[in-house]
């Protein structure tokens, strides 16, 4: 690629042709604010926040490619004024419940004092503190400006177990569509109506529960505001905590920590699972178990399944394993003919629930109904898994990192002050080594069986999963084992999973 020379705010920089102004600016350490932009999606250029001045013309930096000799200004009065107006226009049509002072007087629990207000679990936006729109509004000191603030009273979509869609908070940036259609190929979200009546709705306007959505949660992760959020269920935990007859058992999924740390603004080294254990104890959770244990159990069970299949050629191949309930739902719904290929091993979360209410309850002399199991899980579909028929009530509640963060905040558990505490049961296993953090693409590996080598594959995201599944459907799959993640970077990876086989080697990413 040939280099293109441009200046950004007077700084000369040579970048590859085809680079956007936004990325070129990043390269020289200049941050341009964005809202609809997402690095893994198509360019939308609809929020008009990343506008920059190119020779007196305002252009969206996310969509404009550099050209030789281009001179870009990312900060001048016209740029700032335009950005502020874009934000003001959005905010004038957006709920203001993230601004705590704004809810004073509007609160339905009228007897709450200002001081009590901060302990209130009810009336603020779920994304408060994690909202990109809020961040930008604060950064640029913008409210709805010259425009009258308009209240929106559209109905929420709470038809699924794990995802809540609040159309009133939607800024129509289409990142959810980018996530669902482009990254995952599910096409659950679409854009309908026009102008001010434009809406993001599940295809054909059905409730989300009737759409192709598998509740993987990628759209929730990519939504910049509170328009798409995980269903907030942490209120359910307060009662069992207060009930002295109930033993509350918490369980931390291995993937919970990274997302929790990111949301809370912790550096990875400053936070361990032990800090979370301390916080949970502080909230009143009686026992906290490590997810690494159950994950290893699950891994060895899958390995056994696989060994069994490799020895008996009459059983369907390949074996199909999942990193999440969403991936499993996807296959069950779209490839019913592959039912015999699916792994029968329970997910780590469900193994934990069954263990708690079975083996562990007996050991402890507790009745299963007096045990309340809480799974802390970053995977949104685990909420759906917990209430599913197959779950049989083994897991009572699933909390996302955001929910727990809010509980800690409101429950006075300051992880920075609390001393780390150990898990209540010593871990029997240690987490297997992670071999490849590579996300995206289908990972191909080989394992050695009794006589020969077998090919295995892992798909990062349902878009790639489809490729592998179509091969299986056509009877052309060269693999002995397929492992599917719903979203890129979710769950354990192939290397971890095949750890018991020892001789696993990664041969490439397709």
């Amino acid at each position: 690629m040939s280099a293109v020379n441009i200046t950004i705010d007077g700084v000369a920089v040579g970048v590859e042709a085809d680079t956007t102004i936004l990325n070129a600016a990043k390269f020289v350490g200049i941050r341009i604010p964005t809202l609809c932009n997402h690095p893994s999606h198509f360019v939308k250029a609809n929020c008009r926040v990343c506008l920059v001045d190119v020779g007196g013309k305002l252009l969206p930096s996310c969509a404009t490619k550099v050209t030789e000799g281009m001179s870009v200004q990312t900060q001048n009065t016209s740029v700032i004024a335009a950005r502020k107006t874009s934000l003001a226009l959005i905010l004038s049509h957006h709920p203001m419940d993230c601004q705590h002072c704004a809810r004073n007087g509007a609160c339905e629990v009228m007897d709450l004092s200002d001081e009590m207000c901060s302990y209130c679990y009810f009336c603020d936006c779920v994304q408060d503190g994690n909202c990109e729109l809020q961040d930008l509004a604060r950064e640029m000191n913008v409210t709805f400006g010259d425009f009258p603030w308009t209240q929106r009273t559209e109905e929420l979509d709470e038809s699924t177990v794990s995802i809540v869609k609040d159309p009133n908070k939607c800024i129509l940036c289409r990142r959810c569509i980018g996530a669902c259609s482009e990254v995952l190929g599910i096409h659950a979200w679409s854009f309908t109506s026009r102008g001010e009546h434009s809406k993001i709705v599940p295809a054909l306007g059905v409730p989300l529960s009737e759409s192709p959505c598998v509740q993987c949660g990628q759209c929730v992760r990519d939504c910049p505001t509170g328009a798409l959020s995980a269903k907030q269920q942490f209120m359910n935990l307060l009662e069992p905590i207060d009930d002295k007859n109930i033993t509350v058992v918490g369980w931390i999924d291995p993937n919970f920590l990274p997302e929790f740390a990111t949301l809370g603004g912790y550096t990875e080294s400053s936070l361990t699972e032990k800090n979370i254990v301390a916080g949970l104890h502080r909230l009143g959770v009686d026992v906290v178990l490590s997810g690494a244990d159950t994950t290893c159990k699950a891994i060895s069970q899958i390995a056994q399944e696989l060994e069994h299949r490799l020895m008996d050629s009459s059983i369907h191949r390949p074996l199909i394993g999942f990193s999440s309930f969403a991936a499993k739902t996807y296959v069950q719904r779209n490839y019913p003919e592959l039912a015999a290929n699916l792994s029968a091993t329970l997910s780590p979360q469900q193994l934990f629930g069954e263990y708690c209410k079975g083996e562990w309850a007996t050991q402890q002399n507790l009745k299963a109904e007096n045990i309340y199991t809480v799974s802390l899980n970053a995977s949104l579909s685990s909420k759906a898994e917990a209430v599913g028929k197959a779950s049989n009530g083994a897991v009572d509640l699933v909390l996302t990192p955001l929910e727990l963060g809010r509980m800690f905040l409101r429950g006075g558990a300051d992880l920075k002050q609390l001393k780390p505490e150990d898990f209540d049961l010593p871990a029997e296993y240690s987490k297997p080594p992670v071999m490849s953090p590579d996300h995206g693409g289908i990972m191909i590996g080989k394992i050695s069986g009794e006589k020969r080598q077998y090919k295995v594959a892992a798909a990062q995201g349902l878009g790639q999963a489809r490729i592998l599944l179509e091969e299986v459907k056509a009877g052309k799959s060269p693999y002995a084992f397929i492992y599917l993640s719903a979203c890129p970077g979710e769950g354990v990876n192939l290397a971890e999973l095949l750890y018991p086989f020892g001789s696993m080697s990664i041969v490439g990413v397709e």
């Binding site: 360019v43 250029a45 609809n46 929020c47 008009r48 926040v49 506008l51 013309k57 305002l58 969509a63 490619k65 016209s78 004024a81 335009a82 107006t85 874009s86 226009l89 959005i90 004038s92 049509h93 010259d146 425009f147 009258p148 800024i171 129509l172 854009f191 109506s193 026009r194 102008g195 001010e196 009546h197 434009s198």
Partner: protein, 417 residues
Amino acid sequence: MRELRIALRNVGNIDPLCIKDYQKGGGYHALQKAKETAQEALINEVERSGRLRGRGGAGFNTGLKWRTAFTAQDAQKYVVCNADEGEPGTYKDRIIMENDPHTLLEGMTICAYAVGATQAIIYCRAEYPEAIRILKHAITQATEQGLLAPVTFTVRTGAGAYVCGEETALLESLEGNRGEPRLKPPYPTVKGLYGKPTVVNNVETFAAIPMIVEKGAKWYSAIGSVRYTGTKIFTLSGDVLNKSYFEVPSNTTLRELIYDFGGGICGGRKLKAVQVGGNSGAFLTPEHLDTAIELEAMAEIGAALGSGALFVLDETRDLVDVIAQTTRFFRNESCGKCVSCREGTRRMSELMDKIRDGHGEEQDLQTIQKLGSYMRVASFCPLGQSVPIPVFSGLKYFLPEFEKKISQKEEAIACQR
């Protein structure tokens, strides 16, 4: 004053359903002549025709557009006719398609030959069922005679969105997607329909092609003004006597159009304002009447030629109300893609309604200025960028009318006290 009919030359003279009528008057001869010319030479000729500029509104150089598509290396290229004539008060394309469909087909076939396209599509608004019927009939006739080969013609209909008149939104619609503008660049001539090089021209532009090829660039470039040669079709509506269409040389003035061709204002009343170029055009005053109706002359007085619609308002009209309705139109027609247009048209329309209804305040005028200036520069496509044009012209030339509405409110408040 007399009309000079080039694009409309056959209107009223031939039976649109009879191809022989068209051929009798020399129809399809230009196509034959074009095919005997080398592609590049043909494009040169179109370019030399005083630089024929697109008659859709933007006024882009047609020859240059063709040249880019010609230069693009691709086995498959498309020629698309923009017949999504959605601009209020504009009906020139309908007149051409209903009265002389073959001139459009001939113009498009010449273009297809010039750029090396084999597929031609006419994207016509669904509200023109008669035009669609006649076009389809004409395509069948011409195909039977083998006149259009090797080009295949299709007529496709829109679903009623104004924004699909914007060429990239039109292409999206043709592909079966939501009618929304695309990012430019790449331009359609490089990456258009289904990602292939595509020429998108207006009906009137194509209709002028056969005559340019027939009579030559020299002939055409001698007509009208130097900067915008040739003729332009105007459709007159509003308080003008002859609510009709006229094809005139581009050095004709607004005064000639309204008073000579249009027969003046109804009921002998005085002219208050004229909106040029459709809903997104500026409102001009009687002082501007001696301006020629060519692209640059209009731009010089802050107006745009646009689609060639003239909306005439007499002295009794409430301009604030008219502008409020204009703004409402855009509010309804914004596609909803970008914040600037989606939220901006809504706010602009609310502000105009507020002033029209006598609830306006002094600061509303400042907000309109601020919002309008923002929409001009920040909107994704020309739809959002044009919304402030009529509003700003209203504020510039008819400010007292706005102020009167606003003071009415202040008086009302004073009375209450």
